[in-house]
């Protein structure tokens, strides 16, 4: 049996030597000395667009000595929403996550306040629009940095030839490339007449009445153009108002000029409608045009993206931003903030917008006139008015200005399009309003 003994003298000597070695050792900054960072980005549908984000992140990581890992999470099948819910429950996961529209607010308690970096970012890039503040701020807390990747305006994308031929509207003259819109006559009344004319000509507008976001967004903008809100900013029920009645009456007339199957439309239906050449207008970001460019070039070269028609209470367009948010369980918040600042630099934003072919929209007012929107085509300038460069329409989201937690329910349950359909199918106006009021009361539970 062997037995080793360590004397007190040996113990003290060993301890002293190790301490001296540790103190005198030179500080070696390793390749990943600033720790690790994991990111959940939205998986872009434009081929190659993810690469721009990856390159920017890697460039920053190499400079800051941070080990990064990126997951691109698609929104198809709501995979990103499921991941958000899972990470919120587990209080573990990515450090940074791309939150779509309402999800920053619905996870507000678990997100890091980024007000400290938003100040300098806004100072450099310009003010953000009201919808970004509505969705990205809770009291004075910024719940995330507005991400250009995935952010979009769902404005009208019209067929130049069909609108001219059947409705007598020259959309290019109304929204000329390179200069201010001349769209004073572009009102909901004109829009309705054009819808009727195109319907008669067999090329109806492709506006869905289903329960997915494209359908809800259009209804939201038109409701706001009438000043119609189901719940106001203070959380009061405002369903039974004249503005809501007017909006419903308008929609009832409009549905008569739309394809008969719009009740079943999803987010792909309007794209297919445009690409197949069957319709004169849809409400969509330029993704439908981009697909047409590939699959039906003769359709693409007749497409023009422009602003919404004006209603009695103004001109509203649906705007859906993404936010890069930092979970409060992140172990490397400082590095996360540093990365978000780097991704919000004008040059970085321009790189990402270019990679998306102009689909992605920065939230900042100084960044709405990038070269890509002037040059993309055919036809050249088709995207010039897509980022709302002259701020001639108010960027909004359906169900606003209700408190976001109520508005999210109105939005997710597609209460607006359901109201329009019910009323169109013959339900009495007051019955439809009573139904909607009941629904909204339910959405108010805390």
């Amino acid at each position: 049996m062997s037995r080793k003994k360590l004397t007190r003298r040996q113990f003290v000597a060993a301890t002293a030597m190790s301490s001296a070695a540790l103190i005198s050792a030179p500080y070696v900054r390793g390749a990943n000395a600033a720790g690790k960072l994991s990111i959940g980005f939205w998986d872009h549908w434009v081929p190659g667009a993810n690469k721009a984000s990856t390159d920017l992140v890697n460039e920053w990581a190499a400079k800051e000595k941070v080990e990064v890992s990126i997951d691109y999470i698609p929104s198809q099948g709501n995979k990103n929403l499921l991941t958000i819910a899972a990470e919120a429950q587990a209080k573990s996961g990515h450090d940074i996550f791309a939150m779509p529209t309402w999800w920053a607010h619905s996870n507000a308690d678990q997100l890091e306040n980024v007000a400290d970096i938003m100040g300098p970012i806004i100072a450099e890039n310009g003010e953000v629009n009201g919808t970004v503040k509505y969705l990205g701020m809770s009291e004075n807390k910024w719940l995330g940095v507005p991400a250009c990747v995935g952010s979009q305006i769902k404005g009208p994308c019209s067929r130049i030839d069909l609108m001219k031929k059947h409705a007598g509207i020259d959309v290019q003259a109304m929204y000329p490339a390179g200069s201010e819109p001349k769209a004073d006559d572009w009102t909901l009344e004109t829009f309705l007449k054009a819808a009727e004319a195109c319907h008669k000509a067999g090329v109806p507008f492709g506006i869905g009445l289903g329960e997915t976001t494209d359908n809800v967004d259009t209804a939201g903008a038109i409701f706001l153009s009438f000043g119609a809100q189901l719940v106001d900013a203070k959380g009061n029920l405002t369903v039974k108002t004249d503005a809501v009645r007017q909006a419903l009456d308008f929609y009832k007339k409009l549905i008569g000029f739309l394809p008969p199957d719009v009740a079943a439309w999803d987010d792909a239906s309007n794209n297919k409608w445009l690409v197949s050449g069957r319709g004169a207008m849809i409400m969509n970001p330029p993704s439908a045009w981009a697909v047409a460019k590939r699959d039906a070039p003769q359709v693409a070269e007749q497409c023009w993206t422009h602003g919404f028609p004006k209603g009695p209470k103004g001109r509203f367009a649906p705007y859906l931003p993404y936010f890069w948010s930092i979970w409060n369980f992140s172990k490397n918040k400082e590095a996360a903030k540093s990365l978000l600042v780097a991704l919000s630099k004008p040059a970085a934003i321009e790189k990402m917008v270019n990679a998306s072919g102009g689909y992605d929209l920065p939230a900042y007012e100084k960044l709405t006139t990038l070269k890509v929107w002037q040059e993309e085509g055919p036809p050249k300038g088709t995207l010039f008015h897509y980022p709302n460069p002259y701020k001639h329409q108010t960027l909004s989201i359906a169900a606003s200005p209700a408190p976001p937690k109520i508005a999210q329910q109105i939005y997710a349950q597609a209460t607006l399009t359901k109201m329009c359909l019910r009323y169109h199918q013959g339900e009495a106006m007051e019955k439809t309003l009573a139904w909607a009021e009941g629904e909204c009361e339910g959405f108010m539970r805390s």
Binding site: R3, K4, A85, G210, D261, A263, K418, L421, G442, S446
Partner: protein, 312 residues
């Protein structure tokens, strides 16, 4: 002086030997071996079924922001909502109609296949099982294209006969019909294969005796085939009822619950509320509402099976 003893302690070495022999005996027992062999599955079920089930029970007792215990408050809230009762009604219509048709078609097709000579039967069995082996998310996508509101292949074909266009997913009744049809198409092969196995186990002598007694085709089915298949029919129906009640993919892909919520069933509405509406406790409550309905069905069906088991 600090002493570091590196030698392992030898005290108490006799006890593990006794223990080891006890362990050896336990391992030799058949029940222990069986338990150990099922242990991986038990752990898997505990992790993937029991834990989420109890967690959703916990979630269902929280308020919307998940910060406060509200007991049965979420269920109270749901009971006052018209849409909830619409979903309950639709789930029952969907599950009962689909299971009935699946059972009926499965029964008929099983008889046809049973009567095919053994040589060619395998081929038919394989072909008829195809709908059941394709992942439903994939096959439903194909159905979605067939039912597409603007470009439906069915409508295109029907137009040659001057019929349509039919709003397969745009009208409440047609949309319900469409989701049930796809569910029947997907689930009927399962019934077919179960019934076929059951048919093959019915002793031929019983049919011979029935024929001697002068029984006709219908009497043979009613007095011989059906009683012999009762347990399989009951178990298959119960199993299918549970799966159909909890269906998600077919409705989600085909109609997403629309139009006007007229095809929502428990799972799709729970997803709409919980994930898309960020009200996870209410979504959990909706999905848990299936449990009592299915439990009652299970008790009745299994009690009947037990009773018949004891009788025989």
């Amino acid at each position: 002086m600090a002493d570091v003893a590196l030698q392992p302690d030898s005290v108490g070495a006799a006890q593990p030997v006794r223990k080891r022999s006890g362990l050896k005996k336990a391992l030799k027992r058949k029940s222990t071996a069986a338990f150990l062999m099922t242990l991986p599955l038990i752990i898997l079920i505990a992790l993937l079924v029991l834990y989420p089930a109890f967690y959703s029970l916990h979630l269902a007792t929280l308020n919307k922001s998940m910060q406060r215990f509200v007991g049965l408050g979420n269920f109270e809230f749901l009971f006052k909502r018209d849409t909830f009762w619409l979903v309950v009604k639709q789930s029952c219509i969907f599950a009962i109609t689909a299971v009935l048709f699946k059972a009926l078609i499965g029964f008929i097709v099983a008889h046809f296949v049973h009567n095919i000579p053994a040589k060619g039967q395998r081929k038919w069995r394989g072909m008829l099982l195809v709908p059941w082996v394709i992942p439903p998310a994939m096959s439903t996508l194909a159905w979605l294209w067939l039912f597409d509101p603007s470009y439906s292949a069915f409508n295109y074909t029907l137009s040659f006969f001057g019929i349509g266009p039919i709003p397969w997913t745009g009208d409440a009744d047609w949309a319900r019909f469409s989701v049930i049809l796809v569910n029947v198409w997907y689930g009927a092969p399962f019934f077919m294969i179960m019934y076929l196995a059951s048919l093959k186990s019915v002793p031929e002598q019983l049919y011979e005796a029935a024929a001697i007694d002068g029984a006709n085709w219908w009497q043979r089915i009613w007095y011989v085939t059906l009683p012999m298949m009762r347990n399989i029919i009951a178990i298959t129906t119960l199993f299918s009822l549970i799966v159909t009640f909890a269906n998600f993919d077919i409705v989600r892909i085909l109609t997403a619950g629309g139009p006007l919520d007229h095809t929502h069933i428990f799972a799709t509405w729970a997803f709409r509320i919980g994930i898309e509406g960020s009200d996870i406790p209410l979504g959990a409550s909706v999905s848990l509402f299936m449990v009592p309905i299915l439990a009652v069905a299970a008790i009745f069906i299994l009690r009947d099976v037990n009773k018949r088991g004891n009788e025989s």
